[in-house]
Every structure is written in structure tokens, then in C-alpha cells.
Symmetry: C2
């Protein structure tokens, strides 16, 4: 069972990361890789999904010798219940994030905030129409209120269907109806999963897996899509721009503030504050040349997409960014914020500030943001960071590497805009085989894999094969650091994709946003399927989460599959203890929803699998392979 | 670690159960006790709440050697996250059950069903007023629709507070507000817990525990209370009546149908069908003398409270009931239905029928009930049971024991009605010390404990001390079988309680319903506190779940404590791996919400603990101890 200790070269493909892992050792700071080593080997029962702690008749472990838990649940049921809760938590996270945007828009509509406004009124009007509201003659505030109220109902269990169901191709909607997996209410379907997985409720693994799919559809076409679309309405719809990425974006001579988490609601206010002349003056008075805001994780993606704010790193870089010794403050909202960051911060002069009432951190300072105090709180935390600059120990500062440039801002509006307002040029390129298909590479990092290695090599392999790559979340930083997000990377693409990229001046890997923004990819698939008069499952597209770790990523994977998109995972969820559930995931779902999962840690083999799917789908549409 | 095999006398206190456990051995049927033996010893990490499977960087196990998971979560955080999900599932179950009643009432109001009607119009009007609706001049259907629509909003995240907050004493509401634990929306608070427990969201164990309390309050004063009150509106508010209990209620010469689960929606329709003359004739033609409907678990409680339908048994009796060999059909809705019942049924001629789209059972037959087909489906399943009677193997039938009589039907309306319409006589009796206090004994069975032994002995010990016992759920069957639910049992009470019971003609242990009906106890506490002008925490009352096993029971316990009610548990939840969380539960919460938990497996010691609390509270009110 004992494993040989992995060398630093096995942990990550990046020099900036390696340099900081070495510094962590020197500084005596524990990192995620140290803890993974401690926790390896993992419990084989938990790893296979075969433990149950859902009542105190147990806990139980299912094995050949003990084939049933105290209640009588077997391996299939135990795994299906665990997986149901796993994706329920993922969907809950995205959707509760979307809810915060609904509440912000409602506050705008009700005139309860001046800190937030509608920056993209045209999009507000367009969305209002899509979800079935009467737009004519209404002012922005009224419309903001009505859109927010309508979306509030999407979370409940009123009888109407989710607003954005209008974006789902008719064939797909029919299939969901036939299967009984049309999402009803975003919260309702999540809560029902918690009910179904209680002892003695849903005790049929197939029924549980179908409801898992349903609640994930409520995430993709509901909670996440609301999160994306309202973020655009409130903070502006992204348009192509450039940014920079890697630890080199941290500035030795400036006050460095890192924002981490997933929502733009807090970070956009901090961005405004760091440009405040009074605060800049205060920073200078403290001996800094300025205030540098940089992003981590998906809050970073939100700021990068809309504002070109530099990105310090992805999931596995969050501890390492602090280890530079040059970070005055890490300011977090919620999701994927390793609790260890509080300890890492305490090893330096770094202030760790939590901002959300639903995400406090033991040992951290809490500065709560809400709709009426956000601008003021943002200025407060920036002042705190400036104070922190005075405490920086210059002898412990080490900022590795030079930032790499990338292009960003490829919202669907921007993509369709670049194509002249219709998807036809893209469809023509697909039909001609210049672009053979498109793949969304999404998701996290996982210390079990060599950091960013699967992301980068999969993307390189796909663009070589004339497959366009759309990227979100932590995968973005990987592609950016690898230089794949600049137009020049077209030279690494196959001839067809290269020509298309060069004619449009775009890179072969397009940044479409944060992890809730995978809903942009769903929407684009809907647009393409409708334009072709086919189902999403007929398109030459796929998804991949090569280095995923989170419950949210599992929910994304399942809404992709249930929407008809073949989805590659770099490592499996904890389901391998059930042949039935594993078989359904890796094949059986194909006959049910027209797509399934593939698990493959090797990026080159994964590219072959995805390519085979795209060939089959091209053939199905009567196109060249 | 290895335990000696427990003798049958250690498993249960009842002869009917012992006889069937022996028959199970003879018939080669596996029971819950066999599986518990297989699963013992339990994993110590899981048992202490120290495992985490919430992402695939893990799974992790926290120990002294490995004090943090891969993300950095320590023991306190790991336990708090696990417990948060545990109670979230419990609250989700009750609330999703309540939702079904809301949908039924809405269907009535919209004229979409004739199978269901409003049987207690007066209660509908009263509730409508309590939740703030204008009642005057509205007909029943309109009011049904408006009440259902208002309650639908209680599940969502509109800004108004839950309808039944009007029942909470002002001091308690103020406290919740101060603590930030006023429930907002029933589903919202559950979903937010799933979000908070995702990796990198709420990473402060105290914050998680407070949110656990909040979502449980949304269960007690929301989902469960809605479930109770609308069940009364639709199926009638219980009034005192008598019933019978134990396996002896199964009839050797009749077609036996057992209903199991938690909701009256299906079982009330089956009750109507078994009285259908055509079906009775069919039963006779099949050689039976009639059709016998009996209840198990909380569906049984619902039918017992309102209709006096006999109760075959509680949680640990569900397998044993089938082992009599005389059950033609077990018909289930949802919750606490051991998946093993499908296997046990297949060892006999028993048909196992599932009825709810959210609770299917692998290997069972599914006959789905909805608002428009319920009466028809009920007749269908009764016909199936009659067919099954012909297949019964008489040589394998063994029905133990004689039924015991009990009184039931003590809704708050019935209790207050018996007191002349006001709580004053009860308050006077409390002030005088004739009734020193009241304790709700609630919850399940757990095979780790000697079946019903803790229930019965705790109740006996409390009534001896002039403490009135209210009983719900599986505890009911225990008290009923022990003869404590007949007026004659007053002779076992202390002099004060005895006199009160005798003057009113009631038993010292009052049946107030199923497990959602613990909301009746909350409501009654609210009424008493308001009448006295105090907080619930000031009342000489307590709760006890002596033999609990389920996530729902944990949610009930926490809403009781957060409402100010001291709560005894016969065994601990999986939290003992965190000193902080355990300390909060067993004491710290006292300073926060004015009540906490006590864990004590011994019923006599538990009675002492409860008695001490009641003494202290009586003293606080200036009363004799």
C-alpha cells in the first residue's frame, strides 16, 4: 500500500509552482501535497462509495463478506445514495451562488442598493424576453425586479418550468419529459435528493441516478445559467480583451490583494476600491508603488473575463501564491477555498479575510459584505491590506517567473458577434471540417494528478486535430500559462482550425469564463443544435474535466451528459464499488440520454476517446470524419 | 473489538418480537439484528464523524497522526460539515413530505382532484388567519388554493418569513434574529447547508452548527408543521379514540395489508378501499373473512391518530410483521422503509408495493399514486392483496400475542378542547405541581439498543414523577404495548398526575401523532409560553429520543433544542470526534439557545437528568420543584 514519495517534478508541470513548493519546505509550511501524502492510502471503502453514515444504526461498510448495511442497502444502493448527495451538494453550490445574483438584481430593482447597478441593460431585456416576460415599455428597474422575481420562482416549486428551458432544443426537452427528469424547481430537486437518500426512501439505484441527472439539469440550465447571465447583466457581458497569468503577476513593489472564491459580487467592489485615488495615495504613503489586485480560482476568472484583471493561479496555486511572502491580503467569498489557507496565511504577514455570511473561516478575520455596505467594506479591506504592507518581511519574499499573456472575454455574445451575429459561419466551418468539433475543458486541479499536465496536453492534442477548445475555471490558468490562449497558438493547431483562428484573430483555446459559466457552453450547444435542427447529442462536441476534484465538477459533468454531451473525467468519482452505477455512468447512460462518461487519466488516450466521439457524431450528421 | 453474540432477550423486551426473531432463524430470513452483528464493530472514523468523502482529493480520515484532510479541514470542521448534512437530510425529508400535502391542498383548491377534499374546513380557516391571509367571504376551494400558495412560498426564498412564525413566542423570535438563525425559506436553508459544506465554503464549525439549527427550525416550524396541519385539514383533525397495537392485530382469517412509511396521502385511500363492499365480497370469494388494514411506523401513526386503525408495530417490527407469514401485502410510501423488506417479503407470499415516484425499491412492484388516480390505484392494490391471499402458505403462519388497547387522537385541538378551550387548566395544574412538567418522547428504534426498553422505562419513570408524557412516532407503539396509553395507566403515575388523568379520563401518556407531528408539541409549547408570557426555554418541559436512529430524528432534536427545549438522546450522533461540536451539543448551546442535548442510554439516569431540568425550570418560574 505504501507509495514512494513523489518528486517535485511529479507534482506539477510549472516552474513557478515548483519554486514555491521548495520555498514551502524551507519555510516549514504544509501544502496540499503534504496532506495528500498523509492521507494516502485512502480508505478503500470510502473511495469506492461503499460506506454509509446516513443513520446511527450504522455506520456501515459494504463488502463481499458484509453485502448489506444494517438497513439492508447493498453496494449499488449505497453508491447511488452517496453519489446523489455528492452531486446535490455540487448543484446546491452553483445554485446558491446564482441565488446571490438574483438577490442582487432584486435589490437593484427595488432601489435597495446603489452600490450595484445594471451595466448591460440590453442583455437584461433579452433575458427577460427569453424567460417569457413582457418587456415593452418597462424601465430598467422594473425589469430588473421582474426578472429577479421570475428567477426566484425557478428555485421554488411553483408549477411553471424553469425560465431558461426555452433554450433547450425541443428533442432534448421531449426526452427529459419521457424520462421524468425535467427539472422542476432548483432547490426542490436538490432537497428531494436529500429526502430520497434518507434511510428507507428511494431504494432503487437507477431511480436515484435519474434524479441525480434531474437535479443537475436544474443546476446547468437553472442555477448556474442564472449565475452567469445575471453576472453579465450586473457587471457587464465579457468582450475580448487580454490579461496575464501566473505567480509573476504578484508585484514586489505593490500592495498585493488576492481575491479568491467564485462570485463577482464582492471582488468587483474591491476592484473599484483599488482604483480609488485616496487609497492609492495611502498605499504610496505606506511605501508601495500601487495596489495590485489579482485573482485566484473562479473569482479570478470572473474578473479576468470582464475586466482583464490578472490571474495569479488556479486551485493548486492558492497556497503557493501566499508562500511568495508578498501577499498582503487574501480576500475570499466562497467555494474551493482550502481551509488550510488560513494556516498558510498565518505563516506570513498575509491577512485572510472572509466576506460572506455563509462562508466563515475559523481563525480568520470576517468583514461581511452586503448590498448596502459593499463599496464601503471594499475600501475598508483595501485600507487593511495597505496597513499589512508595512508588515511585509522583504527577506521572505520570492516571486517566481514572468507573467504570460492571454486573451479572454469570449462570451457567447462576443463569439456570435465576431461571427457576424449568427452561428452560421461556425456551422459552415464545422460542416467543411475546418473545425471538426468543439470540446469544453473545464474544472479543477487535483493533487493526485500532475498539476495542469492533463489539461495542457489534452488541449494541445485536441487543437492539433482541428478541435476547438473552450475553457473555463481552473483549466483556464493551465491553458494560459501554456500560451495556448493567444492567437499565436494557432500555429499549434491543425491546418483547418489554424486557418479559422488566423482569419478571426482568435486563439484555438477560448476562455468562456468561470465554472458557473459552463452554462455558456450549454447555451451555445443549444444554439448550434437549434440552428442545425438536431439534438445536442447529435453535435460533434464533448466535455472534459481532466483534473477535477469537487462536487460541483461532478454536477457539471452530469448536467453535460444529461444534456447529451459526452464527458471525459481524468479520475473517477467514488462510485466504483457498484458495478451497476459504474456501468450506467460509463456506458448505460448512452442508451438513456445519448451520452455517457469516460474515465481516463492519460491526456493522449483521452484525446483519442473524444476524437472517436466527434468522428461518430460527424458521421451521424453526414459530414466527413 | 469482537462482541459476544447478544441473546434474543437482549434484542427486545417483547414476546411477539422474540417469537418472530426465532421464526426468522427457523425460516432462514435475515433480520436487522443479523446485519447489525455483521456490521459490528463499526468504522471508528465514520462513527466519530471523522471521515470525509466530499471531494476526490480525498476521501480523508482525521486522526491524531493525520490531523487535517487534504483540503486542510480539521476534526472540528469535518464533524460539523458531516453533521450539517446529516440534519439537512432529516429536515429535507420532513419538509418534502410537507410539500406533498401542500400540493394536495393546491390540487383541491384548483379543482384538480376529487379523490381528496377538505375534511376540516374550520381548521383551514384558522390556519389561513394564522399565516396572515384574509379569510372573510372566501369559499373553501379559494381558501385551500390561497393557503397552499402561501405555503409554497415558505419553501422558496421570497423575503417574507415563514407563515407559522406567528406561533413562535416573541422572545424566542428575537433570540433567533440576534443569532441570525431565523429560518428564511425551508428549501433554501437546506440547500444553503449543502453549499456551505462543499469544500472551501463554510469552514467555521460554530457557523455551521448555527446554520444547522436554522435549517432545523425551518423543519419544525415550517416543513413538519405544514405537514401536520395540512394533513389535519385534508384528512381531519384527530380526536380521542381507541386503537389496538402489536403483531396480534394481524388477522389469520383475513386478507392482511400493512401500510408503512410516513404520509397519509396514500394510506387514507387504501383505508377507503378496504371498506369497499365489492372488494370485501372479492375477499370473501377468495376464502377470507374480510380485509384487515394495519399500520407500521408513521403511516400507521397517521391512520391510528385519525381513524383508530390498528398498529402492527414500530421500526424494528417491520421485518417481523412479514415473518408472521400472514401478510398479503406491504404497501409503502416513503421514509424508514428498510430496503431489506423487499427480501423479507420475497421469502413469503407477501407482495411489496411501492407507491411514490420518489421512493422506488429495486425488486419491488411499483404502483404509482397521484392526485387523480389515488382511489382507483387503491382499489387496484387491494385487489392484488386479495389475489395474494390465495397464495398464503398456512403452514408458515404464526401470529404471536394478543393486541393491546390504547387511546389515541390527542391533537392540540383535542387537548385544548378537553380543557375547555384554553390552556389555563393545564397551566394551573403545572403551577400547582400536580403536573410538574411535560416531556415529549419521540423517535425511532435502534437495534443497538434493547428494543423499546428505553422508551418504556423512561416513560414509566417520568409519569411516576408527575411528569406528563406526550408520545409520537415509533415510541408510540412501545408505550401502547406497555399499556401506558390507557386511562388505567394513571395508577402508575404519581399522585398529582394520577388525579389529573383520572379527572379528565385520559392516560398519563398521550399520543400526539407521527414524527412530523412533533410540530404539535412545538406549537403547544408556544401556546403555553405565550399564555405565561415567557420563552419556551423557561417552561418545565423536555424532549427525549431514547432509541433514535435517523437523520430526521437528529433534525427534530435540533429544532427542539433551538426552540429552547432540553433534549435527551439515548445514543449520540456521529459527532464525538470533535470536542468542540460535542461540547456545544452537550452544554455550550445552553448559553446560546437556552437548551442543549444530553446523551444517556440508561432510562433511569435519563429520567434523573430530565427531572433536574424540570426542577430548575419550575424554580425559575417561582414554582415548587
Amino acid at each position: 500500500m505504501a507509495k514512494e514519495k513523489r518528486s517535485i517534478d511529479d507534482l506539477t508541470m510549472w516552474d513557478d509552482a515548483k519554486q514555491m513548493i521548495r520555498k514551502a519546505e524551507k519555510d516549514g509550511v504544509e501544502t496540499v501535497w503534504d496532506r495528500l501524502e498523509q492521507q494516502t492510502p485512502h480508505c478503500p471503502f470510502c473511495e469506492q462509495g461503499l460506506t454509509c453514515q446516513k443513520c446511527v444504526m450504522g455506520p456501515c461498510r459494504i463488502s463481499e463478506k458484509k453485502p448489506r448495511g444494517v438497513c439492508g442497502a447493498d453496494a449499488d444502493l449505497t453508491v447511488a445514495r452517496n453519489f446523489g448527495r455528492f452531486v446535490a451538494a455540487g448543484a446546491a453550490s452553483h445554485s446558491d451562488h446564482g441565488r446571490d445574483l438574483v438577490e442582487t438584481l432584486l435589490a437593484i430593482g427595488q432601489g435597495k442598493t446603489t452600490d450595484y447597478t445594471v451595466r448591460d441593460e440590453e442583455k437584461l431585456r433579452r433575458i427577460a424576453g427569453e424567460i417569457g416576460l413582457d418587456v415593452a415599455g418597462k424601465d430598467t428597474k422594473t425589469l430588473a425586479k421582474e426578472v429577479a422575481e421570475s428567477m426566484t420562482q425557478d428555485f421554488g416549486f411553483a408549477t411553471k418550468s424553469l425560465g431558461f428551458m426555452s433554450r433547450v432544443p425541443a428533442k432534448r426537452r421531449e426526452l427529459w419529459k419521457k424520462l421524468g427528469i425535467t427539472p422542476r424547481g432548483i432547490d426542490r430537486d436538490i432537497v428531494e435528493m436529500m429526502h430520497r437518500t434518507h434511510m428507507g426512501v428511494d431504494s432503487d439505484p437507477v431511480s436515484l441516478c435519474l434524479h441525480s441527472a434531474r437535479l443537475c439539469l436544474g443546476d446547468g440550465w437553472g442555477g448556474s445559467m442564472i449565475g452567469t447571465e445575471l453576472s453579465d447583466v450586473i457587471f457587464g457581458t465579457p468582450t475580448p480583451t487580454t490579461g496575464k497569468v501566473n505567480l509573476g503577476v504578484i508585484q514586489e513593489d505593490q500592495v498585493n490583494i488576492l481575491v479568491h472564491g467564485h462570485s463577482p459580487i464582492v471582488s468587483e467592489m474591491v476592484l473599484a476600491a483599488v482604483n480609488d485615488p485616496d487609497l492609492l495615495a495611502a498605499a504610496k504613503a505606506a511605501g508601495a508603488t500601487g495596489i495590485n489586485l489579482a485573482g485566484l480560482c473562479c473569482t479570478g476568472n470572473e474578473l479576468l473575463m470582464r475586466q482583464g484583471v490578472p490571474m495569479a493561479g488556479n486551485h493548486l496555486m492558492t497556497e503557493l501564491a501566499i508562500i511568495t511572502g508578498a501577499v498582503e491580503m487574501i480576500l475570499v467569498d466562497y467555494q474551493c477555498i482550502m481551509p488550510s489557507l488560513v494556516q498558510v496565511s498565518s505563516c506570513y504577514h498575509t491577512k485572510f479575510i472572509s466576506t460572506s455570511d455563509k462562508a466563515k473561516f475559523a481563525g480568520a478575520e470576517h468583514v461581511e459584505f452586503n448590498h448596502t455596505n459593499a463599496k464601503e467594506q471594499a475600501r475598508k479591506v483595501v485600507r487593511m491590506a495597505i496597513e499589512g504592507f508595512k508588515l511585509r518581511d522583504k527577506s521572505r519574499v520570492d516571486i517566481p517567473g514572468e507573467p504570460v499573456e492571454l486573451m479572454t472575454g469570449f462570451s457567447n455574445e462576443a463569439i456570435l458577434g465576431a461571427l457576424g451575429g449568427t452561428p452560421d459561419p461556425l456551422i459552415d466551418a464545422i460542416k467543411a471540417g475546418a473545425v471538426r468539433g468543439a470540446v469544453g475543458i473545464v474544472g479543477c486541479n487535483n493533487p493526485k494528478q500532475k498539476h495542469d499536465y492533463v489539461h495542457v496536453n489534452l488541449a494541445k492534442e485536441l487543437i492539433k486535430r482541428d478541435i476547438l477548445v473552450l475553457v473555463t475555471g481552473c483549466a483556464t490558468v493551465a491553458m494560459g500559462k501554456a500560451g495556448l490562449m493567444m492567437p499565436g497558438a494557432a500555429s499549434q493547431a491543425g491546418d483547418g482550425l489554424k486557418a479559422v483562428c488566423e482569419s478571426l484573430g482568435i486563439p484555438p483555446v477560448l476562455h468562456v469564463g468561470s465554472c458557473v459559466d459552463n452554462s455558456r457552453i450549454l447555451h451555445l450547444c443549444g444554439v448550434l443544435a437549434n440552428a442545425l435542427g438536431v439534438d445536442i447529442a447529435d453535435l460533434p462536441v464533448a466535455a472534459s474535466a481532466p483534473e477535477w476534484y469537487s462536487e460541483k465538477a461532478a454536477a457539471i459533468g452530469l448536467y453535460a451528459v444529461a444534456s447529451g454531451i459526452y464527458t471525459h473525467l481524468g479520475l473517477p468519482p467514488n462510485i466504483t464499488g457498484s458495478e451497476m452505477v459504474t456501468g450506467l455512468a460509463l456506458g448505460g447512460l448512452n442508451d438513456v440520454v445519448g451520452a455517457c462518461f469516460a474515465v481516463e487519466p492519460d491526456p493522449f488516450k483521452a484525446a483519442d476517446l473524444i476524437d472517436a466521439r466527434i468522428k461518430a457524431k460527424r458521421k451521424g450528421l453526414g459530414l466527413s470524419e
